[in-house]
């Protein structure tokens, strides 16, 4: 064979042959991402885990599930809680029993009508360990849900099907925000009979129906013309999988994406050259450094306050973060009820930091480790800035760079002094920035990575969860946030602002404040553009 090949070695002929083969290959290849850009085109960084709501434990999967499915409630792009499959619900005075009435006339995309029993079966499926989903906590407040998940019960006694049109939930204790839990993707309602490949061929009630999924390449959806709510204005929505930031920007500039997040390094350029494309919205996401309250000098609140005074957050935000955010004076984002706009952030004051360190018995400083994820370049730069500034007050910081998984494990086990992290909201409520982050029941995997533990804070958080009256609840949130802020379990950095670009041919899109708040129903390609 090789001899034959050698006999015909003629470089020019070979080149011609290569071109011809490539042309043939091109003619026979399928066209995925190369589809004409007439519909809406969004993107995700990675392939979703699945399209099965029970497996939606990450933002990407949650966003895709939101297109195909509905929960009993839902969020809009502003983070407001709206009725969805349930058009009205009632709670008893204590907030411990809820009755959700199903919207009449809703059907799954295969034509089967939605009934209350579907809701119960869907929730039981999420709680069943054999489903191997992993996100059960939004449903654990339901009485008997924990027992069922542990295999101690064959049914969830707190879910009661009231005929075909209503379902009642009895909770283990009052929880004012329970309707918000039900807007999360994992609480979406799926048909009663779910085939084995449901995650690949989903059938929901949502505004979009599933068309195709080429893994790591794209997902395609078509509008669901019989949607119970506002039917999408566009015919199709393609979601491409594009892992690299700068490639996404290039795709957007080439007119092949409807929207794109502005890459960090490009912020000033895009703001200068294309201000009319940009949409900015504060994110429900604190960027912070949890200080392990159980380790060494960080046990002392004065030391933790000193660290807050020693870091020039305003300067880092302006230079390293391109000014894309607002300084944090607490953990509750300023756009949520319960935040306190009057509270001032820790001032940049190295003299005060040194004084506090001396008072705590560390006049010569000490050494700490600051962990960062090697894959998050921006947070890595912030870590370097913090390292340099803490050195000024005598705190020697060693930056430990690990991959995200190793870092997460170390942080959850409490093996780190400090880490640089951000916290994405699951639901737009102050509770999401207090219970997981500071309640002692959440230490480690629950989200409390500073291992902050204060019985008063714990009881106030639980009291707020039980408080049905909204103003009273928000007053409690302010009080809790204030108390925690004083104890300084974090270095409080900032709440980023999301900066996105919308292609000039696109209308009706807005940056959602919560990941599952954008259902793409009002977005369209403008006529004539």
């Amino acid at each position: 064979m090789l001899r034959h090949l050698l006999r015909t070695v003629n470089l020019f002929d070979t080149a011609k042959r290569v071109l011809f083969l490539c042309f043939l290959a091109g003619c026979h290849s399928q066209s995925g991402a190369g589809a004409p850009a007439h519909g809406l085109i969004y993107y995700e960084r990675d392939d979703p885990r699945s399209l099965d709501p029970a497996l939606s434990t990450d933002v990407t999967t949650g966003e895709m599930v939101t297109l195909l499915f509905d929960g009993l409630t839902q969020f809009d792009a502003d983070g407001k809680l709206l009725p969805a499959l349930s058009d009205r619900w009632t709670a008893d005075r204590t907030g411990q029993r809820y009755v959700f009435h199903l919207r009449p006339g809703v059907a799954f995309q295969d034509g089967r009508p939605l009934v209350a029993a579907d809701v119960k079966r869907a929730f039981i499926r999420v709680l069943n360990p054999a489903t191997r989903g992993g996100r059960v906590w939004p449903l654990l407040p339901i009485a008997g849900a924990g027992d069922f998940a542990d295999g101690h019960a064959t049914d969830v006694r707190g879910i009661e099907v009231l005929g075909d049109t209503a379902v009642a939930f009895t909770l283990t204790e009052p929880l004012a925000i329970f309707p918000k839990f039900l807007a999360m993707p994992v609480a979406s309602v799926v048909p009663a009979a779910v085939p084995a490949d449901f995650g690949q061929r989903p059938v929901g009630t949502g505004p979009w129906r599933f068309v195709a999924w080429e893994h790591d390449d794209f997902l395609r959806f078509a509008k669901n013309p019989s949607y119970w709510g506002e039917v999408p204005q566009a015919e199709s929505l393609t979601v491409r999988i594009i892992p690299e930031d700068l490639t996404r920007a290039a795709e957007f500039l080439a007119g092949r994406l409807s929207v794109a997040e502005v890459p960090f390094g490009e912020t000033a350029k895009w703001e200068r050259e294309h201000p009319d494309w940009l949409k900015r919205r504060p994110a429900l996401r604190p960027v912070y450094v949890p200080l392990n309250n159980r380790r060494g000098p960080l046990r002392d609140p004065n030391v933790r306050r000193a660290l807050n005074h020693a870091v020039n957050v305003t300067e880092i935000l302006r230079t390293v973060w391109n000014g894309r955010g607002a300084r944090a004076a607490g953990s509750i984002p300023p756009t949520l009820g319960g935040s306190d706009p009057a509270r001032q952030p820790y001032s940049y004051d190295t003299t005060e930091a040194r004084r506090l360190l001396r008072a705590a018995g560390y006049p010569n400083g000490f050494s700490l480790q600051l962990w960062r994820s090697g894959t998050n370049v921006e947070l890595g730069r912030v870590a370097q800035a913090i390292q340099a500034q803490l050195a000024i007050v005598g705190i020697r910081v060693e930056i430990v760079s690990r991959d995200a998984s190793s870092m997460r494990e170390a942080v959850r086990k409490g093996d780190t002094d400090m880490a640089i992290l951000d916290w994405w909201a699951d639901y737009p409520d102050a509770d999401n920035f207090l219970y997981p982050l500071f309640h002692s029941a959440s230490v480690g995997p629950g989200g409390n990575y500073s291992f902050y533990s204060d019985p008063v804070t714990d009881s106030l958080i639980l009291l707020a969860r039980r408080t049905v009256d909204q103003p009273a609840r928000e007053a409690l949130y302010r009080r809790i946030d204030n108390r925690v802020f004083e104890a300084a379990p974090w270095i409080y950095l900032w709440f980023p602002a999301n900066l996105w670009a919308e292609h000039p041919s696109i209308e009706g899109w807005d940056v959602p404040v919560i990941f599952n708040g954008q259902r793409w129903t009002q977005v369209r390609v403008a006529a004539g553009r």
């Binding site: 064979m1 090789l2 050698l6 070695v9 470089l11 042309f23 091109g26 003619c27 290849s29 399928q30 066209s31 995925g32 991402a33 190369g34 990675d46 392939d47 885990r49 699945s50 497996l55 434990t57 360990p129 054999a130 191997r132 992993g134 996100r135 654990l140 998940a149 542990d150 995650g199 080429e214 893994h215 790591d216 390449d217 794209f218 491409r240 999988i241 594009i242 892992p243 690299e244 700068l246 490639t247 290039a250 500039l253 080439a254 894959t375 690990r402 991959d403 995200a404 998984s405 190793s406 997460r408 170390a410 959850r412 916290w423 994405w424 699951d426 997981p436 995997p445 629950g446 989200g447």
Partner: protein
Amino acid sequence: MLQLVGRRLLATIPTLFGVLVVAFLLLNVVPGDPVAEMVGERADSATIARLRGELHLDDPIPVQFGHYLWGVVRGDLGRSYITQRPVLGDLAERFPKTLQLAAAAMLLAVTVGISLGVLAAIRPGGMIDRLSMLIAYLGVSFPVYWVGLLLILLFAVALRWLPPSGYGGLAFLVLPALTLGMRSIAFLARMTRGAMLDVLPSDFVRTARAKGLGERRVIGRHALRNALLPIITVVGLDVGNYLTGSILTETIYSWPGVGRYVLLAIQKRDLPAVQGSILFLSVVFVLVNLLTDVLYAKADPRVAYD
């Protein structure tokens, strides 16, 4: 030759078993928990414990390995913890795409690289030599990541001749193949030039010229053929590397190949996906190496495998 192939194939079995053992042990030693990746940012300890039990992650390591090995023997690489899809199916879906990219890159590298090397060797020190060696230097020196982005900026954003990224027809293949093949072009050009310069002063080349053969025949059939061994070595190694996935190129160009699959599996500590991928890619690598050895023997009868 058949004996050689058969012997080598048999010898791959202990190699692959070794690969499996090492991969399994390494994955159990490195920090990071697959269940933590499954449950996401917020979870309770009870859920994590339940999932660990469900996935048999608390079984002793030899027992886990035994289960896995039994599956492999039956041709079952297991299911991904994260996506719950069969690993073999995932690899089968992505491998043809990696193969397509590797083939295009290699064709490009072989034609351009060998041409440059031959042209450079014909007149050492001449214009073409200097130019092709400059190209070779640049090709070896520039990082793939940087070249990839530059090519996207030039051909996709500025000129709009080609799509920036994605998988599709020929137009989608050009930039990734060029990016991936660039280093091989450079390497092959230098390798070919060196090998040709060794061969060209030989007696048999002078004889070929003396008997009146045209220069193209002298170079193409006599000199190049004798310069092929080192070239085959480089091509073989590169093909092996390309087929096992090119993480950078696939990431920059959003190419849905095995490289990205393996990277994500490692990041998520998706043990069945990582183990399955390592095994699969080891098989590919071993087969490519075997093919290279066979080609050695074909190219030069003096090479004997006893």
